[in-house]
Symmetry: C2
Subunit: 156 residues, 2 copies
DNA sequence: TCAATGTAGTTGCAATTGCAACGATATGCC
DNA sequence: GGCATATCGTTGCAATTGCAACTACATTGA
């Protein structure tokens, strides 16, 4: 069954699961919120004024919008994020990271970064990181072209 | 914030999500079961006699045991898998793929393989696949050593 | 022998996710 | 303008997942 080709993919999936699982474990052990919160907070903090439109944040994180809605619900309930609405486009909704959100993100970052370094980055030869990163970017980008946004009739 | 180092990881996560999402989309479109079923069926079919112990299969797939229990429940209900028990160790339970399971796996494989090829493999230069695969294997392996199995008191 | 501890698999329940559909706007076209 | 169509964000409900506890069996060591 294609002796070694799809093996890269299988290993990819396994590596993803094991690293994520370990990050979750260490965060929980430290009494911190789950992995998904970090990504969302960073997605906002890296945006202009710590703010992004909902659908844009969903795209950045590559998660579904209805899931983002409820993730932001949880973050908002904990005071880590604030919602607001646009004057221009009546449909638009924004989420912004709060000061408390920034503090928490930094705290999570310590565990997050060290775990990724230890379990993931350290196994990739430095001179391969660029090639690796490029390939992954092409992958994600093309995957989105191929289907993820087709729902929105971007092509077809 | 570490300008480009963890970027590999972010891209890794995004690539994973987008490819998985697209696989799920195409499987559903073809009226086939979700991605997880494929992996489980292949995990069994690739084992001796198409059979594995439950906890072994969970390790191969890098998923939690309680999730495997219920995944196998679903597969069994559809006649794709059969459970059996060991004579020797009274705790042991096995799962085996059935003929129907093999047929379904092959059907899913067509969509699965072409999607992975198109969205993932084709973006990795052939001469980098080995390095890529090796790095991923180290990653997954070490992650397991580091924590995943610690629950079972393998060290510490 | 038998208590203490470890392992395998499962289950109840709560949290999260996926799907389909909705209400509210916005845009294109006549 | 006004209708058809598209987008945005959300919600109800069903399916899946995560956590903690439990049953059953195995192993260890006094």
């Amino acid at each position: 069954m294609s002796s070694n080709e799809p093996d890269v993919w299988f290993r990819f999936v396994r590596a993803h699961r094991t690293v994520i699982r370990e990050i979750e474990r260490r965060l929980a052990e430290a009494g911190l919120p789950p992995y998904a919160w970090y990504d969302a907070l960073w997605g906002l903090e890296s945006g202009p004024e710590g703010t992004r439109r909902m659908h844009e944040l969903a795209d950045v994180l590559a998660i579904e919008r209805y899931n983002l809605t409820r993730l932001v619900d949880r973050l908002e309930k904990d005071g880590l994020v604030m919602r607001s609405r646009s004057d221009g486009d009546g449909r638009a909704a924004f989420a912004s990271i709060t000061d408390a959100g920034r503090v928490l993100r930094k705290k999570m970052w310590q565990i997050y970064e060290s775990t990724v370094d230890e379990l993931f980055l350290s196994h990739i030869e430095p001179e391969q990181r660029r090639a690796f990163a490029d390939a992954l970017e092409r992958t994600a980008g093309l995957a989105m072209d191929a289907g993820v946004r087709v729902r929105g009739r971007r092509k077809g």
